[in-house]
């Protein structure tokens, strides 16, 4: 069995500390940059508005002098009424934990130009590209500002409030055509092409082929080898979007020198399902089942993150039993997700099918429990604002629920984890292929904003459950799993460790569940049309199995729909590290490196 190195992180600051790290940093920042910062005075908003051109200097101070070295999320917002657009930055401190320092850069809507942060925080790369794609922000100094989720040549910037999709029906749901005189129609029958398409007025195809691929290859390095001796040409190889080892519709454009990777560019967007555009039309509760479909392997965690964000906005409290049930569900999800991820990682390492099949047997049991509790195996839609949808079921697969859970937590899951450990951890082939491959240093891991197991496998003990505890995690006794080498093998081991820690948490949760049997499971009776009691913004983040999952939600007072709904997807941002990790390795390793990041395309592309 592997030796486990675990290290508890510093606890979150207690109530006796006067200023949270974020408040302290905010005050200092204002001192250092008095002319370019002003408080965000809009009702319900926090953070500071920064003069857009100075964002780089302020960010640099934050990183170098104040210790806020982790740029978690970059969010574009369209403030159409004010004629402006805004980029919201959330910075965290890895060492000190706690809440974010929020900076907002506002620019003119017609001319959205601002400096890029990529040179200071490489992790902003994909997020800035996303903001460019969705809103048209022009980030000066971005090395590769191309569309990321849609394709080059796409007409318009879809998340702008005045951009309408072909199937546009009404600004907000519910649509008037459904009731009381709803006559069924298929919306495609109402559009000229019978399809979900629209073209700019007057646009006609010229007949020439559009080739998105050329654009992709243009950004790659093609330089000829300048060294004396035998000359080699570089070859560009395309993996995906249909490839058995890309975990879905993901594509990598790899430039090879012989078999060695010189450059790797991920191409995403093949599963871009317009989550945010749809989410801004939905009412708050309608978004809950949509969040299931982000990281569809861990829908419970997605639900929780969204519920936290909206509860913050609505000022709702959650009864005790609901909190315990939430933790139960989320930790089971973590195990289910890691079982899946390990199965696929080992599959990519060449252990075709066998370990995967063993792991999935146990996952099926967890999924059975989800099905009995929430009604669906994967799309749980289980959390509600201020509680959970249902109490635990009476029985699961013919066993009383508590007995089922005990059996699962004390028996089946530990056995499965140990068995997987036995089967794979010491295996020479796994070790030979995984150790020392795809190394990510701690500095790089932080700079590239990686999160979750990828970050912790590089020796950074940052776990939101500890750094900024939500729910009842501060009452629970568990260690933050850390590994220090940052290679594939450590990313494999850390998932094993995390599953063991999750089991530890689950074992502590079970007695509470028994104690609170019959207690209420929501604070308020859930309403079908909840409205925001105040205007404002909120950012809810949870430690998803894949990393930090954040929801940025803003709303107007009395409005039933979010004004802006943004998801900070861990898989998406973790992909930033893929290129640097793969460089210098053989092409055969790239699938294993990708497998060790553990992405889910529903979340990458949203």
């Amino acid at each position: 069995m592997s030796d486990i190195i675990l290290e508890p992180t510093a606890d979150a600051p207690g109530p006796d500390v006067e200023l949270t790290p974020a408040q302290e940093a905010t005050a200092k920042l204002k001192e250092l940059h008095p002319n370019v910062l002003s408080d965000d005075t809009r009702e319900g908003y926090e953070g500071m508005i920064v003069y857009a051109d100075s964002i780089t200097e302020v960010a640099k101070t934050l990183r170098d002098d104040l210790g806020f070295n982790y740029l978690s999320s970059v969010t574009g917002v369209d403030l159409i009424e004010e004629g402006k657009m805004e980029v919201v930055y959330h910075f965290y401190s890895i060492d000190r934990g706690g809440g974010p320092v929020v900076l907002k850069a506002q620019v003119n809507r017609d001319e959205p130009v601002l400096p890029s942060l990529v040179s200071i925080f490489p992790g902003a790369d994909f997020q800035e590209r996303e903001a460019y794609d969705m809103y048209g922000f022009n980030f000066l100094g971005h090395p590769d500002l191309r569309r990321i989720l849609t394709w080059d040549g796409f007409a318009g910037h879809p998340l702008r409030k005045d951009w309408k999709e072909p199937f546009f029906e009404e600004e907000f749901k519910p649509y008037g055509s459904r009731w009381p005189d709803g006559q069924v129609f298929r919306v495609e029958e109402k559009t000229p092409y019978g399809k979900n398409v629209q073209y700019p007025p007057g646009w006609a195809p010229t007949g020439e082929e559009y080739d998105i691929e050329t654009d992709v290859y243009l950004g790659l390095t093609y330089s000829r080898d300048a060294t004396p001796g035998l000359k080699t040409d570089k070859v560009t190889v395309n993996l995906g979007p249909q490839h058995p080892s890309t975990h879905g519709v993901f594509r990598m454009v790899v430039t090879l020198d012989g078999e060695t990777i010189v450059d790797l560019k991920p191409v995403v967007g093949y599963l871009h399902r317009n989550h945010e555009k749809i989410g801004e039309r939905n009412t708050f509760i309608m978004n809950m089942p949509y969040t299931d479909r982000l990281d569809y392997l861990s829908s419970m965690s997605n639900n929780l993150g969204y519920a936290l964000a909206v509860e913050k906005l609505f000022d709702l409290t959650v009864p005790e039993r609901a909190e315990w049930i939430r933790i139960l569900m989320v930790e089971l999800t973590r195990i289910a997700n890691h079982l899946w991820a390990l199965g696929f990682l080992l599959n990519d390492l060449g252990a075709l099918q066998t370990p995967m099949l063993y792991y999935y047997l146990e996952r099926e049991l967890i999924v059975d429990f989800f099905e009995a509790a929430s009604g669906s195996r994967m799309m749980c839609n289980y959390m509600r604002f201020s509680g959970v949808a249902y109490d635990l079921p009476d029985d699961v697969r013919g066993m009383p629920t508590m007995k089922f859970l005990e059996e699962l937590i004390y028996n089946n899951l530990p056995r499965a984890i140990d068995q997987g450990d036995d089967l794979m951890t010491g295996n020479e082939i796994v070790r030979a292929r995984a150790i020392g491959v795809g190394v990510l240093t701690p500095e790089d891991a932080i700079a590239m904003s990686t999160a979750g197991p990828v970050l912790r496998a590089s020796g950074v003990p940052y776990d939101i459950r500890r750094a900024e505890p939500y729910s009842y995690y501060d009452h629970l006794d568990f260690d933050v799993a850390v590994r220090y080498n940052g290679d594939i093998y450590d990313r494999y081991l850390i998932r094993v460790d995390e599953m063991r820690q999750s089991l530890r948490i689950l074992q502590q949760v079970l007695p509470y569940l028994k104690q609170t049997e019959g207690a209420p499971i929501f604070g308020d009776k859930p309403q079908y049309a909840q409205r925001a009691p105040r205007s404002g913004e909120s950012y809810g983040r949870v430690e998803n199995p894949k990393g930090e999952l954040g929801y940025y939600v803003t709303a107007k007072r009395r409005s039933g729909n979010p004004e802006r709904y943004h998801v900070r997807a861990p898989s998406f941002i973790n992909l930033t590290a893929l290129g640097p990790m793969a460089k210098g390795h053989k092409v055969a390793d790239v699938v294993a490196i990708l497998g060790s990041i553990d992405i889910v395309l529903g979340e990458v592309d949203r």
Binding site: D181, Q183, P289, L365, E371, M379, M399, N427, A529
Partner: protein, 228 residues
Amino acid sequence: MYGFGIVKGLGVVINHFIGSYIDDLRWAGKGGRYYNEEAFNVRQSPLGEGVKTVFYPEEKLSTPERFRFVPFLVTDDPPPGQRWGHDWCTACGICVKVCPAQCIWIERAKQPNGRPKSQPEKFFIDIDMCMNCGLCAEFCPFDAIKMDHDYELASYDRSTAHIHDKERLSKPLSYWREISPKKAEAEDIARKWAEAAKTKKRDKDGEGREDRIAEVAARQLYYKGLYY
């Protein structure tokens, strides 16, 4: 030592291989391991050992009460000689307003004088859009729309088969009681309590306190209904 990990791994695999036969022996005297309901239930629970395959379509995993697959409408059990019973749906439109995919269409019936009647004239669900989220069933105040357990809906054509109209959606109460007995019962009780509380209030002779108790009890039972 090289090779040891591989041998260890093979050991685990062989363990599984042998284990799958041992459980066969255990059930040999009790009607066999396969196509035997008792054995099947044990096999699919955490206590199961060996091969866990579900031999669909011969064996089917039971669907839990809360299982959700496309919605259906509850009607009274049809009186003898008639095809449909009375609809429970009152065309209140709440399911329409909560449906995230906006895949429900309701046309409210009209009285002869043109005033709206609390009954649906037409009711459609486009199951090509439905995300089986169950919100419609959760928020319907009349227990009129429920999530079905019938998942065997494969078809060769979607242009007609995938828009469920009222006829296709309506299923009798007895069906709901069959697929979800506990929940249906809890709902029954909650409805009775609520009804009792309402009539008491209307009579105006009952003491206020009793009303409140009845109401609270009804609400609790309603939540209890959600427990199953």
